[in-house]
């Protein structure tokens, strides 16, 4: 397994993409459920946004395990994007975003 460090731009880009996917999920759920309480989803979106925005002001630490964490985050982000056309339920989105946010927070933790 390669231990080459990804550059911080690439990792930040992954975090930004995760935040964007979280917002897309919120908007998709809202479109399908305009009258429903979406606050749990919104909280996840904010957490993803904060993971990204907090990292932009810091430097990526020299920890090669970030590469695997980034790959996991990208997979989750792509999974969310892939579900945008099909998943309508707020509860289903909360579960998916919960996983996404956990991974985003983990990746953001590499920025110190």
């Amino acid at each position: 397994m390669s231990t080459v460090m990804p550059d911080s731009a690439s990792v930040l880009s992954s975090l930004a993409a995760a935040a964007d996917a979280a917002r897309q999920a919120y908007m998709t759920a809202l479109q399908a459920n305009p009258g429903q309480d979406l606050s749990p989803l919104y909280a996840k979106e904010m957490a993803a946004m904060n993971a990204w925005s907090g990292a932009t002001a810091k430097a990526l630490g020299p920890n090669p395990t970030v590469k695997a964490a980034q790959a996991d985050l990208d997979t989750a982000t792509n999974g969310v994007r892939g579900d945008l056309a099909t998943v309508k339920s707020v509860a289903a989105w909360v579960t998916r975003l919960d996983n996404l946010v956990q991974l985003a927070v983990k990746v953001a933790g590499y920025f110190v």
Binding site: D7, S8, A9, S10, L12, S13, A16, A19, D20, R23, Y26, M27, L30, Q31, P34, D37, L38, S39, Y42, A43, M46, A47, M49, N50, W52, S53, G54, T56, A57, A59
Partner: protein
């Protein structure tokens, strides 16, 4: 000093007369002599530019006092005058000023936009019954830090625009008063920006000095020499700016903020849209325009009673938000392309090659288009 000025005036006089002569005997494509008025040329050439701006490099009072015989004797030198280079330099400077200004407009997330972002977050918090302390306070604080980087980027672009404006003044009117300070400001703002984005550089002192040495108003070969030197100075700094902006870390530290801010603002608008606050009619009219169709006055009621149509229109709104987000990132890349294009044209100017501004002009047009996507004249969905 006085002798130098007189010599410059004579030199300029000859240059002007040469141009007047050329203008007055210019032959049109059908081999007939063009009927340009010498009087009109005189007015344009001697006292004022086309825009009515006083021509600082050729004070009219001195010209009137010149013995025509001396000026006439100097005409022979006119064939070798570097006016073409000055015109080329002026064209490049104008193009650079336009490009930098347009880039600045694209980059600008003005304080009003940040205010709008804060309002949008507040709305989103309220709509979702989520206290700010649960997330958005941190977000806004983080975004303001990133905003600081962008403000410095804007300052840099403003300085670049000013440096080009000063170069234009030098090429057009021989005015070099503002150039030293403009280039110094550009160097200083470049250094500050590089520090902000963690790519600190220092512009060597020799890059920013030396233009003021032979007077505030210059003509002839002195003017051309200064213009070329100014071009080299700007190019030298431009090269460093391009290198910084090309860094992936700088790109990612700057570009995500605009998409994310637009995303949050767009989200607030989308929430309101899905709640039926806005009229659907602008979108309906836009879709119907190619067929000459307009929405009827009861269109909103029809849409709201038809979930499939409503979902379709919500998709259009969502897509619009995403287009705006993508345009902000593209604008950064286009801006960088504009700076690279300028860099190439500086090299050509200095080596005496013909410059080509079409590519730059195309990029600026793209930037304008992207700015319109990012901030449509009628923001929001309401008609």
């Amino acid at each position: 000093m006085g002798a130098d000025i007189e010599q410059d005036v004579y030199w300029k006089s000859a240059q002007t007369l040469s141009r007047i002569l050329k203008e007055s005997i210019r032959v049109s494509p059908d081999n007939t002599v063009a009927t340009r008025s010498i009087v009109r040329c005189n007015k344009k050439e001697i006292g004022h530019s086309m825009s009515g701006r006083p021509n600082k490099r050729f004070p009219v009072r001195r010209v009137k006092a010149l013995p025509l015989v001396i000026a006439g004797a100097l005409l022979a030198s006119c064939a070798t005058m570097p006016t073409a280079k000055l015109s080329t330099a002026a064209a490049l400077a104008k193009a650079g000023e336009v490009a930098a200004s347009q880039m600045q407009r694209n980059v600008t997330i003005s304080s009003a936009s940040l205010d709008l972002f804060v309002k949008a977050v507040a709305f989103n918090d309220g709509f979702n019954a989520t206290p700010a302390a649960a997330g958005s306070t941190t977000l806004i604080a983080n975004v303001k830090v990133i905003q600081g980087n962008l403000v410095q980027y804007e300052n840099l672009l403003q300085s670049l625009s000013s440096a080009y404006s000063a170069m234009d003044d030098l090429a057009e009117y021989g005015a070099s008063t503002d150039l030293d300070s403009a280039v110094s400001n550009l160097a200083s703002d470049t250094e500050t920006f590089s520090k902000k984005v963690g790519k600190e550089i220092t512009i060597p002192a020799d890059v920013t000095k030396g233009l003021q040495e032979s007077g505030n108003v210059v003509v002839g070969s002195v003017q051309t020499g200064k213009v070329i030197k100014a071009s080299a100075q700007i190019e030298s700094i431009l090269e460093k700016i391009v290198a910084i902006l090309s860094e992936p870390t700088v790109r990612s530290a700057i570009t995500p903020i605009q998409p994310q801010l637009q995303g949050v603002v767009g989200q607030a608008a989308f929430i309101l849209y899905t709640q039926g606050v806005y009229t659907y009619r602008p979108i309906l009219d836009e879709l119907g325009a190619p067929l000459g169709l307009e929405s009827s006055s009861n269109a909103d009621a029809i849409v709201r009673s038809n979930k499939r149509v409503e979902a379709g229109l919500a998709g259009v709104v969502n897509q619009t938000v995403n287009s705006q987000i993508a345009s902000a990132t593209e604008a950064y890349d286009q801006g960088l392309a504009a700076l690279r294009a300028l860099e190439q044209q500086h090299k050509k100017l200095q080596s005496g090659e013909a410059i080509t501004l079409q590519n730059l002009s195309d990029i600026v047009a793209n930037l304008r288009a992207l700015a319109q996507v990012s901030a449509p004249p009628t923001t929001g969905i309401a008609k």
